[in-house]
Structures are given as C-alpha cells and as structure tokens.
Subunit: 404 residues, 2 copies
Amino acid sequence: MADFDLLRRLTLDTGGKIVLLVMDGLGGLPREQGGPTELEAAHTPNLDRLACEGSIGLSIPVARGITPGSGPAHLALFGYDPLKYEIGRGVLEATGIGLEVNPGDVAIRGNFCTIDENGIITDRRAGRISTEEGAKRVELLRDIKIPGIEIDIDIAKEYRFAMVMRGEGLNGAIADTDPQRTGVAPLSATPMDPAAQRTAELVNQWLDAARERLKGQEPANMATLRGFAMEPGLPKYADVYKLRAACVAVYPMYKGVSRLVGMDVIQTTAHDTTLDEFEHVARIWNDYDFIFCHIKYTDSRGEDGDFDAKVKVIEGVDEALPRLMDLNPDVLVVTGDHSTPATYRAHSWHPVPTLLWAPGTHMPDRGCAFAERECMIGALGQFPAVDLMPLALAHARRIAKFGA
Amino acid sequence: MADFDLLRRLTLDTGGKIVLLVMDGLGGLPREQGGPTELEAAHTPNLDRLACEGSIGLSIPVARGITPGSGPAHLALFGYDPLKYEIGRGVLEATGIGLEVNPGDVAIRGNFCTIDENGIITDRRAGRISTEEGAKRVELLRDIKIPGIEIDIDIAKEYRFAMVMRGEGLNGAIADTDPQRTGVAPLSATPMDPAAQRTAELVNQWLDAARERLKGQEPANMATLRGFAMEPGLPKYADVYKLRAACVAVYPMYKGVSRLVGMDVIQTTAHDTTLDEFEHVARIWNDYDFIFCHIKYTDSRGEDGDFDAKVKVIEGVDEALPRLMDLNPDVLVVTGDHSTPATYRAHSWHPVPTLLWAPGTHMPDRGCAFAERECMIGALGQFPAVDLMPLALAHARRIAKFGA
C-alpha cells in the first residue's frame, strides 16, 4: 500500500510495542524433489508455537518474479514501495560500509584503477588489489582537504571504496568519472544539472588531490568515482508511523537503511550472536515502540549454498527466541527480506514465510508450523511486503478507523 | 505488474526455454452441487504429475468479477495490462479472421446492410444473410482500387466482414459510418482528428465504390464501417522480455494477437489436433526461447454447454502432453486465458487453474492434482494473469536482481 498520507492521518501513538525480526534470505527451496526447504527442515519448536497461535502467510518482496537486492527488500519490509523509493548506489555502498549519510550529503562509490604515464587507464580495477592494499590507499586519501566541505571515506572491498561529501548546497547530479573502458583517461566530474556545477568542481579538486597522493602507488595509482547520489529523503518512521524506532543489526548496510528511515541505530559488535542481539533489544526495550532486529547469517549460509548450515542458523534463532518473548511484545513479526535458497546460492524472487503474532488481535488459521507450505494456507495469504508495516501497526492497535 | 521499463532493464537472454500452453476457457464449474468441475472430472495423469512436482495456483484474467474476451485475456497472459493496452475492435476482428495488421495499417469492421431506393437503411444486418452469401458480396468488393493504398478484405461471419487499409500516412481516428438505427442513410466517414482527413476521404471513395458494386445485391446492397483502429504498437517480446517467441495456434485470432506482441506465427492447418500442434512446437524447438501453444476446443465445448466433451478435450491434451515434455522445456506453464464453464455456455470471470513446472526453481506446495480446488492451496496463490510472464521468466532464470 505505502500510502503515507493515509498512514500519517490514521496512525496513533498508543504505546503498543512491535518487534520486527528479520532473518535475511529466510525463504528456501527443497534440496531434492519432494524434500523439505531449509525452514521446513529446521527444528523450530518456538517459532512453530508462535505460528500455531498467530497468523502466517507469504510476503512478496517487490513483485512476482522480481528478485530484490537487500536495499529494496528492506525498504519494502519497512513499508516503502521499492519501485517508488530508490536508494542511490553511492548511498547504498556508503551506508553498507558504515559511513553516515545525512540529508544534503552526496555519497559516491569509488574504484582504484591503474593509469600509465600519460594518464590513460590500463586497468579499471587496479589488478583487483586486496582489501588490505585498498585500505592503505584509502589512508593516503583520508585527509585530503577541500575548502567548505567535509569528506568521509572508507574502503569497501578490494579496489572499491565509498565516500561521503558533506556541506552546504551540494548536489548529486554528477556523471560517473569511470569511462567504463581502458585506453582512455578518467573523465572529469561533469554536472548533469546546472545546480551541480559547484559540487562537480569540488569533486574535481578532490580528484586532482587524489591523483597527486596516489602517484607511484601502482597498480592503484588513480581513482574513478561513480554512483553519485544524495541522501534519498525518505519519509521517517516517527512522522509516518508515530513510532520511536530502533535498529539492532550487525552488518552496516542494514544499519544504513534503517538510519535512512529514521530509526536509531543501536551499537553492536561484528561478532554479536543472535542472543547478543536479543540482549540489545532487551536493553533498549523501554525506550522504543518498534525494534527492527536483523539476523544476517541465514542469507550468508544460503549464499554459501550450505543447506545444513542455513538450517542450523534458523534453529539457533529459534533457540534464542524465548529471550525476545520474555519482553512481552504486543506484536512480533518474523520474516525474511527475500528468499536465498541454498540450492541457488543467491537471492531469489520466491515469496517469504511470514509470521505475525499478536495475542488477542491476530486471526487464527490452519497453519501450525513456521514453514513455506504451512504459510500457503495461513491467514495472511500471499501479500506484498510493503503491506507488512500497516498490518503490524494495526495488530498493535496503532491505526485509527478510516472514515465514519 | 506489467512494468515494462523495469522488465526491459532486468530481463536476460540466458537461453532458458519457456512453453506457455493455453487451454482456452480452461476453468469450469460443477454441473451439479457438490460435483467436480470439468478439469476435476478429467482423468489427467500427466498434468497431475506436473502439478504435484510443480507450483500451482489460480490466475485472475483482468480483475475480480470481470469476464474477459479472448483479446484482453490473452494480452494479460502475455504480460500486458489489458486495462492499459487495448486492441481496437477493427484490429481484433481483422486479426481474428487472419488478415495481417501491421504498424501504420487501419483495420475496420464492416456490416452488410439493406438500403431502399432512397439510400435509407431498412435493415442494419442485411437480413442476417448466411456466411456463404456474405462471402459472395465480399468477392464483389475485393478488387476495389483506391489510388495510393492497398486493401485487404475478408468475410468474418454472416453479414460481418473485416478490412485492412495499408499505405503512407493513414490515420484511424474516424467515426463509425453505421448510424446504429434504421430509417436514415449510412453516414459518411468523418475524421475525429484533422490528421485523419485524408484517410476519411479514401474511406468515402471506397464506400462509393462499394455502393456501386452492391447495387441489386439485396438484401445486402450496401455496407457500413465501424471500429476503425490502428495497429496498437504494443511493446514487443524481443524488446521487453528478450525472448525469441513463436505462436502455435489454429485459430486466426490467437495468431493475430501473438503477431501484435512480436511473436512469429507458425503455419498450422485448421484441422490440426493437439498432437499436431505439439509436433509443430517440436519442429521449431531450436529456433525459439518461448513458444505459446494454444488449444481452442476446451473453450468451444464450454461454449456449447457440453460438459463431457470439454472433459474429453482436456483428457486429449493430457494424453498428448508427453510429446511436449520430451522437449525438456526449462519452464512449462499450463493455464487458460479465462474460464468457460459448460454450465454457462460462455466466458466467465472465475480464476483459472494454472500450473508452473520448472524443475529446481519452483516452490513445492500442497496441491497434487491439476484441478480448481487443488490450485486454491498452491504455491502461486491467486494472482493477476499479467504476473504470469514475470513468473515464467524468473523460473527460467531470465530476470536479473533488482537493486543491490
């Protein structure tokens, strides 16, 4: 639905508390014809009990047949139509490595490349240097000073880095400086809109400085920039949903997208277990109406193609679940942002098992386990992921009647 | 969904092969309370096995409660929102009788009528003459020559014919010449847009010539024209889906709609059986990525009100199915364009049983027979028919990930 004008009008600050527990890439497929999916194979007594008590169904991330990346998939779960609200590549990359992107900022993806003595690109990816080597080059660029703006930069992976420019009157309508081929020089930053003229000049000052500092650093002796994008200015949770919202996630990208919709991002460590994450939720329980808790490793094991390991991750979440239930949420939603079948080793378009538990407000159904084939006969049916937030809010009694 | 901008961006030419087998008017209703539908009554071991292995569901042709004609129903199956993309009446009638309609052509429906000695219409349908009598009148009109344009004409049925005008700068914005009542003369062709002025003049030259040639041919001694329409300029399969697509159908109308979306139309004969059609599919197998195969007689027997005969047609398709399966398609979709319950003797709005078989990529479900009530518990749920093409493409691994 994603009708924020309507939601802004109808949402209420009634104090009902919602937990959105996302197991990334939760949905799966059987390893062999007639066999169970990962979720069906997993022993999950706690989730099954909640499925049995609550309503279950299947959520469609973006549209039937469309496989989403993590950005659009999370936007949909957060209630934003991902075909309408797009997070630019630069912003996704920057938030993905933990750089803060705020309104007015321009975020950029960068590549180290190799140029010859005439300034001609001979390798667009600088021989795919290691992340360690990439990080060393980033250090050389970190203290480039451009008057009037502030710059954050960090390594992403191998030859890739991200950068955020912060200052008055910046504009992200700038063409890529990566010419997309070798045998030519890197392009200058050129504005695609007259309003981006000054920003392009600042970017070119930065590129000149970068060229100086990378001199002699072969194979990574120059940088190209692409995916220039502004902070997307998404409507915020407090405004459209009247929710004080927080994000408990381990990976930077999910923190980044949460920040863009106005959630407070809770500090975690890279080695936090599911139980650690639930402890964070417990710690902040009294300060928030809505807590998004993200579990990464279901997706990671799916991408590895490791069916059994994905099953184990799901079982681990189930085992830790009582810690979350002890908090007595009014609404608990358990779902994935998309499917990552181990047999695919990749994201897929298949609809995602979803559980909505809200004692006293959810419809009963025939589904009595948290599993793909049970969700097909659940009360939620198959529904667009963007409808999940209105459903969660309704079950928390946070949406007023529409019309008299 | 029908978001061609998105699909154009995401579709891939990966070589996955798709067969869309349409049994026209497949869906049905029980003959008596508590009894089976036509599809439920049919003995279909092959379809049941595919349903058991694959994903099943119910497709909604246009919108809930809306009974589609064959044109919009097929547009939806082909992925075109039939409320957005309309094929004009003239084009549908012309393609329906096998006339070719190409970009720039104007297609027109015609009626023979009776006029008195003062040129006043006394019967708008020329006494509903037989098709044979109608065909004789068409022969009289066939070689009317209008400078600068080429004209195709053929009988449709009884007093109805269709015509295609071909030439530079034609425009279809012309009002009907049928005044929709007797006691007045046929109208002249008048442009509804200044750009159609010249076309209207050409049409009037043709009408004058037709009046001359039909003189004395009572009761069919004049013709009226209506439903002027241009070739609709639909996005083409090769462009939006990156598919080399072909149509194997016996009836002209289905060939016509297929041609309008850019499919190659394979030559068939009017007496081809289902097995003959599958042999055509086999013959062209290596030349195409996507083959639409249309079975007409499920609909015909439904329109006859002959429940048992419709059951027999379905069983015949099931019997021939191994010929199709021998080709090893990556994706086989079996569905109907709409329902034609024998108890209705007409098209209906009921959702249509749909089977999607794509080993290794489809979700398993609880449905284990190809039948209405099994489809209700299937993995595809109830879905808009326009989503079928994205689903088929996804299962053939022909759609890239959306966003990062």
